[in-house]
């Protein structure tokens, strides 16, 4: 169960950020923002080494004392970032991968909406519902 889910566009501005209800939501925004650097590093290092199929799932980007941050980048350079609590040890790598896959599917479905313009902030109801399904319920 995620504590924060973010979708970031190719040009590194946020398309969608959803966090659980917490007084200091900005903290999550900062975390996601700083994780972008790690994402860029991972993308560029892999691109130099391999010319063939690159893994979309980036894995654990970095752990902080309270949270773990995972990343995923699509072939169109849209990035998904998921933040989970460090105390949540039940979540395995496979589950995070499947969360990203669901996110990616929901993103693609939302993108096929003819009224969604590339680069707009995401305001789709069904996408929001998918994200809700993977956040921590309080």
């Amino acid at each position: 169960m995620a504590v924060c889910v973010a979708v970031i566009a190719k040009d590194n501005y946020p398309l969608y950020i959803r966090t659980i209800a917490v007084d200091n939501e900005l903290k999550f925004h900062y975390t996601v923002h700083t994780s972008l650097d790690v994402v860029e590093e991972k993308i560029s290092s892999v691109a130099k080494n391999t010319a063939d199929l690159r893994e979309l799932y980036l894995g654990l980007l970095y752990p902080t004392e309270d949270y773990k941050v995972y990343g995923y980048v699509t072939n169109t350079k849209v990035k998904f970032v998921i933040v989970v609590e460090s105390s949540n040890t039940v979540l395995r790598d496979n589950e995070i991968r499947s969360m990203f896959r669901k996110l990616h599917n929901a993103y693609v479905d939302m993108f096929c909406n003819p009224f969604y313009n590339h680069g707009d902030v995401i305001s789709s109801r069904s996408f929001g519902e998918v994200v809700n399904g993977m956040m921590v319920q309080d």
Binding site: D109, C112, N113, P114, F115, S123, S124, R125, S126
Partner: protein, 180 residues
């Protein structure tokens, strides 16, 4: 315009997603051009009408149906053969009016509206309006004047998309249809 001999199988099938995306692009462009929901609805209906008057020829050539004896038969042919042939769905025919001149077509999974969510502020947009125009045009070419309206729309929160078809009049009585 019979294509029965030219193509034994319909080898030029287009992916359903491409069709959905094309129609979606058309509607969103119309919305950008006209900006007013009612104008867009009118244009979609006109587009549907133009498709309908041509599609009916193709339909009659490919399906070999005979003249329908009454409106109920027409409704069944529309739902089971025509919709199946062009869109691959079979809407249910229900809600007949007591006089037998109005019925509803209930569409559950409309291929035109896959992935679509209506944007804010455009609640009066009838996305599937093109179907209304097409039905009206097609039936007009077989001498039946009808009025087709959307009464329920899945994009606006209802469970099904419902098209209400109302018979207005026969256009020419030249050939009597069996028992009148």
């Amino acid at each position: 315009m019979s294509r029965q001999t030219a193509r034994p199988t319909d080898s030029r099938k287009v992916s359903a997603e491409l069709f959905t995306l094309t129609y979606g692009a058309l509607v969103s462009q119309l919305l950008k051009d006209y900006e007013n929901d009612d104008d867009v609805n009118k244009q979609l209906e006109k587009i549907g009408y133009n498709i309908g008057i041509r599609a009916i020829e193709d339909f009659l050539a490919r399906s070999n149906v005979t003249r329908c004896n009454d409106f109920r038969e027409t409704a069944d042919v529309i739902s089971k053969i025509a919709f199946k042939m062009f869109l691959g769905i079979s809407p249910a025919v229900t809600n007949w009016s007591p006089a037998g001149d109005e019925f509803s077509l209930l569409i559950e999974n409309n291929p035109l509206t896959d992935f679509v969510e209506l944007p804010e502020g455009h609640n009066k947009l009838n996305y599937s309006c093109v179907l209304c125009g097409a039905l009206k045009g097609a039936l007009e070419m077989v001498q039946l004047e009808v009025d087709v309206k959307i009464v329920q729309d899945q994009l606006k929160g209802d469970n099904v998309t419902e098209l209400r078809v109302k018979f207005i009049k026969r256009l020419e009585d030249a050939i009597p249809a069996g028992e009148d």
